[in-house]
């Protein structure tokens, strides 16, 4: 798997490279600033890009902007965005094009090396991986009268794991239940959220997030 990394701190850039190469990935380029992200991506056409949100020269959200631009120019390019902090706002912007192959993770997650590499692979395969913290924030909006309020605690748990990009088997293993039970929960969730069921694991995660996202986008027309 060919990877492009954009991270300004040399220590982290080297760390990421080491981890990914230890797991059989090939880091074809590692850049340290916002403006060189897009050229690197168009030149190498990697299987996945791992991009830090905050990059020079502005040290604001240069990396995020580069990621959004890259996905506009190279449709379907899988991008995993890393950040010290997660913001729902940014998750929404990444999901705005409604295509798979997006990830948004706290940098902390990198320390769980196997989980991190797993996330990179899932994103590269077109899956959607959201940091558990983003998912928790989304699900915390329980007080509202929205359809989320109708979910049971268990359904909420399942939805959370789905939104993190896990497969039915993974969800079942996490919750110590059978895959059949997970299937049932998912069907209940889809009907409560008034979403047509879909067989595709990644599509359905995207659909969940797009639903949560879409439920709110009309709040601020931009």
């Amino acid at each position: 798997m060919r990877v492009v990394i954009a991270e300004d701190l040399a220590l982290l850039r080297d760390g990421l490279t080491r981890i990914l190469e230890a797991f059989g990935c090939q880091v074809v380029a590692a850049v340290d600033n916002g403006p060189s992200v897009l050229p690197a991506l168009t030149a190498h056409r990697p299987d996945v890009a791992v991009i830090d949100v905050r990059l020079p020269p502005t040290f604001t959200d240069e990396g995020l902007q580069a990621a959004v631009r890259a996905r506009a120019e190279l449709p379907g390019l899988p991008v995993l965005v890393l950040s010290q902090h997660v913001e729902q706002l940014y998750a929404r912007e990444l999901l705005a094009d409604r295509r798979g192959g997006v990830g948004y993770l706290l940098k902390d997650r990198v320390s769980h090396v196997d989980q991190f590499v797993d996330a990179v692979r899932r994103v590269a395969a077109g899956g959607t991986v959201m940091d558990p913290e983003v998912v928790a924030q989304l699900l915390a909006r329980r007080d509202g009268a929205g359809p989320l309020a109708e979910l049971t605690a268990r359904e909420r748990e399942v939805l959370g794991l789905m939104a993190e990009g896990r497969s039915n088997a993974a969800v079942a293993a996490r919750l110590f239940v059978t895959e059949k039970a997970v299937d049932k929960h998912i069907n209940n969730i889809f009907s409560k959220l008034r979403m047509p069921p879909s067989g595709d694991d990644n599509r359905r995660v995207l659909a969940v997030l797009a639903y949560l996202d879409g439920a709110d986008t009309r709040r601020f027309p931009s």
Binding site: F59, A72, Q88, L89, R92, S111, Q137, G144, S222
Partner: protein, 430 residues
């Protein structure tokens, strides 16, 4: 008819009431207050009785002047209170209180105004007296009394000599009524304007009051800053720093054990990773409290939108900022809005909320409203009071309107120039 009532009669009635109150106040108190003041001042040499008495009399004078200032508001004239604040620990009867009273120029300006103010105050009876007198002529009282043989006078006819003069009282009454209603506000206006010369703060007092206010807000800002630094130091010391020490201890131990007990090493490393995760989470929380990353990255509009997403109810955000405010102002407004939104989420019981950011006439405005049950207040020490103090450091103000039953609207306003041009809007959705 209704137009007549609204444009003529109601203002005339208000003016008449204001005039009556002004006149009553002037006529009953001014002379007495002057006499008391003079007596108190004369008694200063007599065992210092005046030293105890004069501040008491002054308090009464100030009360009286305060009432006049309030009445002036009926004419749409705002007069700020000009008195310097009382020094701490100076109850009535002390030398310090006397010195404070004597040293305040407003004391002497009040006193100088009392007698001339009584004259202009008495003239304020006109808006009531003229229409009443006009009505007397209009209802024919002079004619009735003249016919009844009473020796009676009205206007210039004193006494009324013949029936012709008595009949003339009708048009005269109408004229007086009309003049009284139409021109009644002039005496009151004269009184208010005249009082303004004396009862308003002078330029010097205004500056003194401003300096005092700035001193207070600066002290509060410095205190808040120091408390914040102490909190950060404590959180770092007890939290992240301690965890990093534990982390390096675990790793050190693992280093020792690596050859003999790989299983223990695995446990230690897992522990170390856990600890580092906690340290990171703590640092993240701390950074958010100091300067939220989204504020640094997106400026106020983006940061407020991010805040709105975190509230468990729909929040409409409208932003009209043609540029970016200075960083400290941005931060203060961000935390103020965050506090207000947190209150909405916790206490309001609202189903919708909205935030409006705007900038007009050199002032940044932020309004947070919800359709909840209202009853929000800003008790001293509460989150909203803290927010108010934080804004005060920038000469900002915060007003909370929250009648029981709602809705709650918190408006914040602070002077601020917008420096750099608008930051580039993000691509994608906002």
């Amino acid at each position: 008819m209704r137009v007549l009532l609204r444009t003529w009669l109601r203002p005339a009635a208000v003016t008449a009431a204001q005039g009556l109150l002004t006149a009553l106040l002037s006529l009953t108190t001014h002379v007495a207050l002057v006499v008391l003041s003079v007596v108190a001042l004369l008694l200063i040499p007599a065992f210092g009785i005046g030293i105890a008495l004069f501040p008491v009399v002054t308090a009464a004078v100030r009360g009286c002047a305060g009432l006049h200032r309030r009445l002036a508001r009926w004419s749409g004239v705002e007069m700020a209170t000009p008195y310097l604040p009382a020094p701490a620990g100076a109850p009535f009867g002390t030398w310090r209180r006397f010195r404070w009273v004597v040293g305040d120029p407003a004391t002497w300006r009040d006193l100088a105004w009392l007698l001339p103010g009584a004259v202009t105050g008495a003239v304020c009876l006109a808006p009531l007296a003229l229409p009443m007198y006009g009505l007397e002529g209009l209802i024919g009282l002079p004619l009735v009394l003249h016919t009844a043989g009473v020796d009676y006078g009205y206007g210039p006819f004193w006494p009324i000599h013949d029936t012709f003069q008595a009949v003339l009282c009708f048009p005269l009454g109408a004229l007086l009524l009309a003049v009284g209603v139409a021109a009644g506000r002039w005496p009151v206006r004269l009184h208010v304007r005249f009082a303004g010369f004396f009862l308003r703060p002078t330029r010097g007092t205004e500056l003194a009051l401003r300096v005092r206010q700035l001193t207070v807000t600066r002290a509060e800002a410095v205190d808040a800053q120091a408390a914040e630094l102490r909190r950060i130091e404590r959180d770092l010391h007890d939290g992240a720093q301690a965890r990093l020490v534990a982390l390096s201890m675990s790793i050190g131990l693992a280093e020792q054990l690596v050859r003999d007990d790989p299983e223990a090493v695995r446990r230690l490393l897992a522990e170390a990773r856990e600890t580092s995760g906690q340290a990171l989470a703590e640092l993240r929380g701390l950074v958010r409290g100091i300067h939220p990353p989204v504020l640094a990255e997106r400026g106020l509009p983006g940061a407020v939108r991010a805040l709105a997403l975190a509230v468990p109810l729909p929040v409409d955000v409208t932003v009209d900022l043609p540029g970016r405010p200075a960083a400290p102002v941005e931060s203060a407004v961000y935390f103020a809005v965050a506090e207000a939104l947190a209150n909405v989420g916790k206490h309001s019981g609202a189903t919708r909320a909205w935030v409006e950011l705007g900038h007009a006439a050199g002032r940044l405005t932020a309004v947070v409203g919800d359709d909840g049950r209202g009853g929000a207040s800003s008790p001293a020490g509460g989150g909203l009071a803290g927010t108010g103090r934080r804004l005060a450091a920038f000469d900002g103000t915060m007003t909370v309107t929250s009648p029981t039953g709602g809705p709650t609207v918190i408006s914040m306003e602070l002077p601020c120039a917008l420096s750099s041009p608008r930051i580039s809007p993000s691509s994608g959705t906002g």
